[in-house]
């Protein structure tokens, strides 16, 4: 009779601590290992690698490049993503129910494919082009979070401000209410853009115009003629400013997000009234189409043309297209299957680890959210380096998995864990405590309550997180380049194929990759009739 409540708590705690331990092994340990290793590059203590930080002019220029590129790309993403979310959520725009989810579709193509298809259309290059393309590729984050913010505002608050203070004040109030979500979306874009080295490198290779920090980290890591430990030490040391910058940005984002409005499932809630666009409807419709056009239709069109032989001398033909797809089917289907499989497993592992961590973060231990941000704060390249250093240490039991897909799956799941934890913690916070209390009063144990109450209520978000992890894993190039089991990933294959001039096969492969990425979304629509929302 006395305190049996503790028993179920203990059981829950055990699961939590096991998963937290797994998270630490997957994400924190490699980084700590790398960090301390940077002081012992050749077996003895040395500050050489750290002394180089910001010591050279090139280093400072690269950091400046990264900051400018990140800022500009984020601006583009916020304008396009936030703007699209505003017109689809706040106005009577025709087809808003379709155009809203379509703003998320640019996630289906890796940024490098968007860049390649743009380069195919135009010779324009330089900072604005790189920033625009990265902005388009990552705008879905800004769109999703702004839409979430707007959906969380009670329409009555807006209407009371409208009646008391007029239209301008009401719009300002609305902006203040959703600025936290907008900021969170912007910072997420910034984080991914700063980590991206593929697109700037692609344009740098075409014309030596732009050289960013994450690319420098990658070059340091892959610098020939240096022992691995020294390369790793330089890589970690040189990425320290970037790490600091992203880390601070993420914490600001988390803080801003916590201050945002939270609508629980039991809340008495009225959505925002929609504004009548009138003649502006055509303009707004055109604006809402920019993201899907640039982020999905343009790459799809160019990649289909590539597969039909547009880059070859003998012109475009259906015969060539069929041949390209047939070549992919015979030569690269294994890689495509492997890639989709790895991404699916990574998405599954992501949900498996994120769900209990998010639950604890929402209900008892909010610090877990901040802790879980670490893998996102670290540039993808550096996380890859850290994983290689730790998993390749022959003295550690992890080394037996070094060449296996386990390393790749863990890497992807770790990389995108913060998104899973944030989304699921947010969903868990929306569940009123009384739901669980009602189930407890009916005498049901914790497992049954999870299976019947919390689980089904969190399932839509868990599926969204799985899809997000799956799609982002397909897009991720940095880890695929660094980790040995990533050699067969399509994102890497694609870069190589195009590099060696096989654009026809590359085009077909990119189209199939996008279809593969869309697969879980299509399945979800078929099964539930809804596309779902990633409520980050």
């Amino acid at each position: 009779m006395s305190m049996p409540k503790g028993a179920s708590k203990m059981q829950g705690s055990k699961t939590f601590w096991i998963l937290l331990g797994l998270f630490v092994i997957l994400a924190i340990l490699p980084l700590l290992y790398l960090f301390f290793g940077s002081f012992f590059p050749e077996g003895s203590f040395s500050m050489e690698a750290w002394r180089k930080i910001l010591s050279t002019h090139t280093e400072r220029i690269q950091l400046l490049h990264s900051a400018v590129l990140g800022g500009l790309a984020t601006l583009f993403a916020v304008l396009l993503g936030g703007g699209t979310a505003w017109v689809t959520e706040r106005t009577d725009l025709p087809f808003a129910r379709v155009l809203g989810p379509m703003a998320l579709l640019p996630l289906l193509f890796p940024p490098i494919v968007v860049a390649m298809s743009f380069a195919d259309l135009s010779t324009a290059t330089g900072l604005p082009v790189v920033a625009l393309l990265l902005g388009v590729s990552h705008a879905p984050f800004a769109a999703a979070l702004t839409a979430r913010g707007l959906r969380s505002i009670d329409g009555r608050l807006y209407e009371s401000t409208l009646l008391a203070r007029g239209r301008l004040r009401a719009e300002l109030f609305l902006f203040r209410q959703c600025v936290a979500d907008l900021l969170a979306g912007a910072l997420l874009v910034l984080v991914f853009v700063l980590s991206n080295h593929g697109v700037p490198e692609f344009f740098s290779v075409k014309k030596k115009t732009w050289f960013v920090y994450s690319e420098a980290v990658f070059l340091r890591w892959s610098a020939p003629g240096k022992p691995g430990s020294l390369r790793a030490a330089e890589a970690i040391a040189s990425s320290a400013p970037l790490l600091l910058f992203i880390g601070v940005a993420l914490l600001v984002c988390l803080r801003a997000r916590r201050k945002g409005t939270l609508v629980t499932m039991a809340s008495d809630f009225r959505p925002l009234p929609r504004r009548i666009l009138g003649r502006g409807k055509v303009f707004a419709l055109g604006f809402a189409l920019i993201l899907p056009l640039l982020g999905i239709l343009m790459p799809l069109w160019r990649m289909l043309l590539w597969s039909a032989g547009s880059t070859a001398n003998f012109g475009v033909s259906m015969h060539t297209a069929i041949g390209s797809f047939r070549r992919v089917a015979t030569e690269l289907m294994g890689d495509l299957g492997y890639t989709l499989g790895m991404a699916a497993l990574a998405g599954g592992l992501l949900v498996f680890i994120a769900l209990p961590l998010a639950w604890e973060a929402a209900k008892r231990r909010p610090w877990i959210e901040a802790l879980s941000l670490i893998p996102l704060a670290v540039p993808g390249i550096l996380l890859g380096v850290a994983l290689v250093r730790l998993w390749n240490d022959p003295h550690l039991p992890l080394s037996r998995f070094y060449d296996t897909p386990v390393l790749l799956i863990s890497g992807y799941a770790t990389r995108f864990l913060p998104l899973g934890v944030l989304a699921l913690a947010n969903a868990a916070r929306r569940l009123p405590t009384s739901f669980d209390e009602a189930a407890r009063l009916s005498g049901r144990g914790p497992i049954m309550r999870w299976l019947k109450i919390q689980g089904p209520l969190l399932l839509p978000t868990a599926v969204s997180v799985f899809i997000l992890g799956y799609i982002l894993s397909l897009r991720e190039l940095d880890l695929a380049v660094i980790l040995p089991p990533g050699n067969d990933m399509v994102s890497r294959r694609l870069a190589n194929i195009v590099h060696f001039g096989n654009e026809d096969v590359g085009g077909a492969l990119a189209v199939l990759l996008a279809l593969g990425a869309a697969l879980p979304i299509m399945m979800r629509i078929l099964l539930t009739g809804k596309a779902g929302r990633a409520d980050l």
């Binding site: 409540k5 009123p432 739901f435 407890r440 009063l441 005498g443 049901r444 109450i453």
Partner: protein, 346 residues
């Protein structure tokens, strides 16, 4: 089956509940009434085991729910609870909710839903597809599903349209009386409390101010708060500490049970307009300003100000209706109630 609560105390800064004692008999409905924030819901949560008290004991029949070093968790108390927001699981249909809560067979769950007044056509609907009253009936059925030993209702009719209340109140009374479990219902609605209660407890600021049968408390409230809350009486403090105390309307005998300060609880019918020649001795007439006037089912009511206290005066059908701002003379038309203004009444 009797619920006994003794010296129960719960502290969560800055709120303190208790210490309080309470007894609820099986087959009877005890209604806790009081203003919002008075600790009523907290008390229900303590009884349900959703919160742990800092001190005191809760016993149901022979089972000690909580006491020194003993705490039976909510899952093991067999308590039915209708939450304020209902807390219906949004993904489960009505039948599934009752079956999950009561581990019951389909047949039993269907019967229970019908008993709670939810027609069979609605049993497969999700909570979002039910009206306020239907959802309320579902919440009641779910609370009863596990054959509770104690039924707790937290503002059970809060979100129900007035025209649906009568039916639901009948259902609640019937369900409370047909079982052996005690039922405790929380409300801040006076009419609802009077209709539902077998026993009424008035709570404010974490303390029980007064308890008794509903009819008794309405006829003879002992505490000023009860008179104001249940009867909408105006309160006019009495000066002094002896058995005879005075106010501008005269001097009055104070009953023995009054501990400390006392006041007159003045119902609208207790005061009347008087002529200049009337009023003397123990029933004085006083000149007061009219603050407002309005009409209700009893007739025209004047709101007047007497020494900073707003009091209501019921006008006779043929009396002229003074305008706000005018001065009128008032006096008592019948002996008023004398009530205690501080502490818990006996």
């Amino acid at each position: 089956m009797t619920l006994r609560v003794s010296a129960l105390r719960f502290e969560r800064d800055p709120f303190t509940l208790g210490p309080l004692d309470l007894e609820a008999q099986g087959g009877r409905m005890v209604v806790l009434i009081g203003p919002s924030g008075g600790g009523k819901t907290t008390l229900l949560r303590l009884l349900a085991g959703l919160e742990a008290p800092n001190a005191g004991t809760v016993t149901l029949g022979d089972t000690l729910f909580s006491g020194p070093s003993v705490f039976v968790p909510a899952a093991e108390r067999h308590v039915g609870f209708v939450f304020q927001g209902l807390a219906l699981w949004p993904h489960m249909n009505a039948l599934a909710q009752v079956r999950f809560a009561g581990r019951s067979r389909k047949k039993d769950a269907t019967e229970l839903l019908l008993r709670a007044g939810l027609p069979a056509a609605l049993h497969k609907r999700l909570p979002g597809e039910l009206s306020g009253g239907e959802a309320q009936r579902l919440a009641i059925a779910r609370a009863l599903a596990g054959r509770p030993r104690l039924l707790l209702l937290d503002e059970p009719l809060r979100s129900v349209d007035p025209h649906l209340r009568d039916g639901l109140q009948r259902t609640l009374r019937a369900l409370a009386h047909e079982g052996e479990h005690p039922t405790i219902c929380v409300t801040h609605d006076r009419e609802e409390a009077l209709v539902l209660a077998d026993d009424l407890i008035v709570m404010a600021e974490g303390r029980i101010l007064e308890r008794g049968q509903a009819s008794e408390l309405c006829r003879k409230p002992k505490h000023a708060f009860t008179a104001r809350f249940l009867l909408r009486a105006g309160i006019l403090p009495l000066q002094g500490l002896g058995t005879k105390r005075g106010c501008p309307l005269g001097s009055f005998s104070v009953p023995e049970w009054v501990k400390g300060e006392a006041a007159l609880a003045l119902l609208p019918g207790d005061l009347k307009l008087s002529q200049p020649s009337q009023g003397s001795g123990t029933n004085k007439a006083v000149l007061v300003p009219v603050l407002d006037r309005h009409f209700d089912e009893r007739g025209w009511l004047l709101e007047v100000d007497l020494k900073g206290q707003a009091l209501s005066v019921l006008l006779q059908p043929n009396e002229p209706i003074p305008d706000p701002g005018m001065q009128v003379r008032i006096q008592l038309s019948r002996p008023p109630l004398v009530v205690q203004t501080n502490g818990e009444s006996a």
